[in-house]
């Protein structure tokens, strides 16, 4: 009995989570595991694609000051409205 009820309860829970949305579905067919592996390889940046990634960016202004003071180096701060390492 438990085995029969189990998928039904699970299906009800999944359905309940979708209440309030359109019933429409995406036209494209569902993805398979193979599709996902291929897509992931296409979407992620490949080695060398983003040269700026080879710069050892700090993300804390204060830590950068400490590091620069210890090393006797100037600081280069790249400041954007939207983080340069996370905004597009």
């Amino acid at each position: 009995m438990r085995r029969v009820l189990f998928p039904l309860v699970a299906a009800a829970l999944v359905a309940a989570a979708h209440v309030g949305f359109e019933r429409a579905t995406v036209a494209a067919p569902p993805l398979s595991g193979d599709d996902a592996v291929k897509l992931r390889a296409l979407i992620r940046p490949i080695e060398g694609e983003d040269p700026f990634d080879t710069i050892p960016w700090e993300t804390s202004l204060w830590e950068a000051r400490k590091k620069a003071a210890a090393a006797g180096k100037p600081i280069l701060l790249w400041e954007m409205d939207g983080h340069p390492l996370g905004c597009g």
């Binding site: 599709d35 992931r40 940046p45 040269p51 960016w57 701060l77 400041e79 954007m80 983080h83 905004c87």
Partner: protein
Amino acid sequence: MVGRASAFADPEIIKMCQEQFVPVTGDDWYQRRRKDKEGEFFRKLAQDSGKQGHTLQGIYLFAPDGTALAYKNAGHSADFIRDMMKQALVKFGRLPEAARKPAIPDPGEPDANYHRAPPEGGLILKAYTRILDLKEGEYCKGTCKALGGEKAARDHVWITKDETKALVPAKVEVGFRYPVPAAVATRLARFHLLDNTRGEPQLWKAEHVRARRMSLVVTGATADAVELRLEGEVILRTDADPAKAERGYEARLFGSLRYRPAKGTFDRFDLVAVGTHWGEHWDTAPARPGRTLLGHSFELAADRAGDRVAPQAIRSRDEYYGQK
């Protein structure tokens, strides 16, 4: 992000950043507002650098004590920025040791309103977005005219400790299916399934989420690991009528997750989304015309400083965490 494709793609500038400067990045939206020592330091640096205006964006070169050396907008050419850096090095060399090697005071408590820390005990995902095309029926990297628009855009996803627990199946039984927690599914849909390939996009509003189905299925279970498959689809449109929607994204999702019961956490969270996207925000024009393919890839972040950068959409923290 023009700076990535111009100044910070230049080999000599990269070498100078690696060897002669301490390079640091920041989000001006927070920095210019912070009412704490770091905010005060940054605003004074901007003032001393001659930067004025609503935002304080740009490339600042300065000594550790705060002495301004040079400032330019990040949109300048690599030649321009390279020369600026060389001149700043000369100026820096002439400063007294007290400016070059000062004692840095304690920064004190950060301004909680404008400080974002990763969720303790939760998950950080790296998020990549790329325009795609089809070639002979197979997906391939897309092409566009916008500078840097063909590259993978990036962001981060933060999932709290409680949400991480809610991703774990209640029954470790192969075939057991259950919904992705609503807060996580909504966050992914509204704040991460965006076209950010040409910069900061407009977020989806709650009412733009026309359909959002995401579920997890147990595909394997041992004492050591629970394997899960994430399946889903989203329909995001600025108007209920597809013909009237200025912006939209209709996508399928597929993911492979692995939960480690002994450690109480996930050591795999590979998720992709792919679908058709259309429209643009004024700040991210020009998008490719018509409905074009867009893909997203998510994975667990490593432990580099850059991996702890806050999600772009978390400026409105309560909304991001579904508390508003």
